[in-house]
């Protein structure tokens, strides 16, 4: 059994973080440079952490598989970042942001973490503006805001449709500065392939140089994983093509618990799938739902008609009808399910019938075409490039797609996993979003973790470690981990198979989408749990991985990642089967209230499910961290 100590500070919710910061022991400044910290990843979470730790004086080594830290998947975030600044004077507050986020997560996140997130949100905006992030501004020169799903206040800060890019470039600039000063050693094109655990503590990693194939060992006093989400386990998603789960999956196999793996977000507004060749799905930012209206025809027989031929009275603006209080800004899980429902009723539009309209004609009447262009021009351009359609004239067609993973490695309040010395930040951990993430809150969490949480909490661990006492890379544990990595590579290259890697990834994606997608039930989950191991066995017999080990080999990189997805997929379904309730994104068809909404079971399932690896071929062990709500009442989520 893993030891899950959440280490939530005592005291009133709003004072926990302040109190904890005051009580954490400090590392003596002269000692800081004697500690080496490995940071894997340079997305929002990793880059902000690496830069901030280096500013404090720790020795930092940062690793990314990308050719530059500026390319992390965070760059693709479009819509914005939340902060409880209340610059609009519309009644926002730290408590309200906290409450919206915990309610948005359907009461499956840890109260204290979410409150801290809301508290530090305001510092993030200050930090980013000081770095030169060009947020949108009003004519008076002050910062502008927009609304996002799941909120009734306007608290989202944005930089056109490129908020993630600008925030990442801000963190990258801070990181670059520290690299220039020699305070961070940066390793690009370097993929972590194993975690090294010595005496029960995380003390290093094994890395493959993606250009030369060389394997190297790196020791440190603590290891930070900020390696992003695992949504590409579904193959088709809005993630960057190379996002993967290998770092966290291999850490899981070294003892780190994987929490709530089945909590995967399906985003309602993406461009629908058109063919089997497709390599990714493109998100149309949720911000579009501020002004676009979502509808399908009332009658199935109209679904193939030209939208302009469908009279106003024959249209069903179903979100406005079902959720009048939030309308088109209902949270993602709810909006996605509603889209699935109307398509299941045969009212979906487009050639595949898997699509709904997102219509801007009213917005154009109100704001003019130029006004809509000013707000969303780049999104309309993207839509045009992909679909060859002009959304100023015909409504966009959208459909839900895999977008984010709330699950991830289990961490305590200090963001440390159950393996001492292993910290996990950003999308790679499980801590703040419960069973559903609200828009504009992942960027907030990544930067909160990296700039404002870890730099304090890592000291809590390091003070207990003798300075400069980290193990040498000659230690047996490093040898064993390196052998493991070499073994995996050799096995992949040796399979005498025929099929390209994509063949298996696509099939895995379909199994998961059908078995563990927007709606789940025990029968389909059990079916997926049969199919996944069979597909995995087939992969190891029939995959074709060309090329060699000692060179740049993209097939080998992909094969390793897909091999891990083939294992992780099974854990997703195991978790989804175990959680015999509906909550947030996890919609078990067996548990539905009379109105067709999620029916939670707080008596039995108010816990974070932290799965522990038990060895190859063994069923994972379920550890439960009870979710104790000291301040808020676990209410039924209501957006009507």
């Amino acid at each position: 059994m893993a030891k899950l100590e959440s280490k939530i500070p005592s005291g009133p919710l709003a004072q926990k973080w302040t109190k904890h910061k005051a009580e954490i022991k400090l590392v003596n400044p002269a000692n800081k440079r004697k500690y080496e910290v490995i940071v894997v990843g340079a997305g929002l979470a990793g880059a902000s952490a690496a830069a901030s730790l280096a500013e404090l004086g720790y020795g930092v080594k940062c690793f990314v598989f990308h050719d530059s830290p500026r390319r992390a998947h965070s760059i693709a975030a479009q819509g914005g970042i939340n902060a409880a600044k209340n610059y609009q004077n519309d009644g926002d507050s730290v408590y309200r942001l906290f409450y919206d986020t915990i309610k948005g997560g359907d009461f499956r996140a840890r109260e204290a973490n979410v409150h801290r997130l809301a508290e530090v949100s305001v510092n993030i905006i200050d930090q980013c503006v000081a770095q030169g992030v060009p947020f949108a501004r009003e004519y008076g020169g002050l910062l502008a805001n927009r609304s996002f799903g799941g909120a009734q206040v306007s608290r989202t800060f944005y930089a056109r449709g490129q908020t993630g890019q600008q925030l990442l470039l801000g963190a990258y600039s801070a990181l670059s500065r520290m690299i220039g000063l020699g305070a961070v050693q940066m390793f690009t094109h370097s993929e972590m392939l194993d975690l090294v655990v010595v005496g029960g503590h995380a003390k290093g990693i094994i890395v493959r140089d993606l250009v030369t194939g060389e394997i190297s060992r790196h020791a440190a006093d603590a290891v930070v994983l900020a390696t992003g989400g695992y949504g590409n386990v579904f193959n088709l998603s809005t993630y960057a093509r190379n996002s993967n789960a290998t770092a966290i999956w291999r850490a899981y196999k070294r003892g780190a618990c994987f929490a709530n793996p089945c909590f995967t977000q399906i985003h309602p507004t993406c461009i629908p799938v058109t063919g089997d060749y497709q390599s990714k799905l493109t998100l149309m930012s949720e911000s579009l739902r501020n002004d676009g209206r979502i509808w399908v025809p009332k009658k199935p027989e109209d679904s193939k008609k030209n939208p302009s031929d469908i009279a106003e009275g024959d249209r069903d603006y179903y979100l406005e009808r079902m959720y009048p209080a939030f309308g088109n800004l209902a949270p993602r899980d709810i909006s996605s399910r509603a889209a699935k429902k109307v398509c299941d009723e045969g009212r979906g539009v487009g050639a595949s019938g898997l699509g709904v309209y997102l219509d801007f004609s009213d917005a154009i009447k109100r704001l003019t075409e130029a006004g809509v262009r000013e707000r969303y021009g780049n999104l309309f351009d993207i839509y045009h490039e992909i679909t060859d359609e002009n959304a100023y004239q015909v409504p966009m067609r959208i459909f839900p797609a895999v977008h984010y993973t709330m699950g991830g490695l289990w961490v305590d309040y200090n963001l440390m996993s159950n393996v001492p010395g292993l910290f996990v930040l950003g999308e790679a951990n499980f801590s703040d979003h419960g069973a559903n993430r609200l828009g504009a809150s992942a960027l907030m969490q990544g930067l909160a973790d990296g700039y404002f949480v870890l730099p304090y909490t890592i000291a809590d661990y390091l003070v207990g470690q003798k300075p400069a006492a980290r193990p040498k890379t000659a230690a047996a544990e490093f040898q064993q981990a390196e052998d493991n990595v070499r073994g995996i590579t050799a096995r992949l290259l040796a399979v005498p198979g025929k099929e390209p890697i994509s063949h298996f990834h696509k099939r895995l994606g379909k199994i998961l989408w059908n078995g563990c997608g927007m709606a789940r039930n025990a029968t389909n989950l059990k079916k997926a749990l049969q199919e996944i191991p069979a597909l995995r066995a087939e992969f190891w017999q029939n995959v074709n991985v060309p090329g060699e080990d000692a060179a740049l080999n993209q097939s080998l990189e992909r094969a390793g990642r897909v091999a891990d997805f083939l294992e992780l997929a099974e854990l997703l379904c195991v978790d989804a089967l175990d959680r015999d309730e509906s909550c947030g994104c996890h919609f078990r068809e067996e548990h539905v209230d009379p109105e067709g909404e999620c029916l939670r079971n707080d008596d039995q399932y108010a816990y974070a499910a932290a799965w522990e690896y038990q060895g190859e071929g063994q069923a994972p062990l379920l550890n439960k961290e009870p979710l104790v709500y000291e301040t808020v009442h676990m209410a039924k989520r209501n957006y009507k």
Partner: protein, 260 residues
Amino acid sequence: MKVKLKVWRQMSANSAGGFKEYETPDLNSNMSFLEMLDVVNDELTIKGEEPIAFDHDCREGICGTCSLVINGKPHGPHRGVATCQTYMRNFSDGDVITVEPFRARSFPVIKDLIVDRSAFDRIMQVGGFISVRTGSACDANAVPVPKEAADLAMDAAACIGCGACVAACKNGSAMLFVSAKVSQFGLLPQGQPERDQRVLAMVKQMDAEGFGNCTNYYECSAVCPKLISHEFIARMNRDFLKATLRSAFTQAPTGASAAG
């Protein structure tokens, strides 16, 4: 539709490269150019040949990872988009399409179509930032920024660091990339304290990396997927001149060590 590809293949940085021809299978015209390469690569794999190495990640025009010179044009035939946003419907059945890496002295080929663009990172490391320690910032609304300045800074900040500007330039100049960053910070009040040392340090590093000079052909902004304007180059030149003059009088230290 089907097309014929003439693709640059090169085993490694030190080996000689050359073009190889491939016939594609039947394609859907809604495929992206990179999806077409995926399909070709899967076929090569099945045939036991090594797939074509090419860079990509986000596949939506924002990460700056994809590259490729398609029929002589960095990022392909269309204005204002990256290679990953190029679709097969822009080509015709039977076309012969030449695919090469971004070529420039400062971007050595790593393999096939992948080049090393780390010189850009090194330029950023000497000055592409505002020195602000985490936690030391004042309230975000304490310093108003005129909307026009913020908007123009955002225009500059839209650069995705892809390097097409360098590949398009007959001198292999990185002026568009560097000037975009210098201008973003130079336009904002927060960027003023380090304005001189930033431009001096970044230009010095740019020269040290072997990027060429700008001789005002503006091929760069023509191929830029974010349509970064070459007016930023003029802006940087003015900044550079002023900074040079001022530093001659004050002997201000330059570079990251000074910024720290």
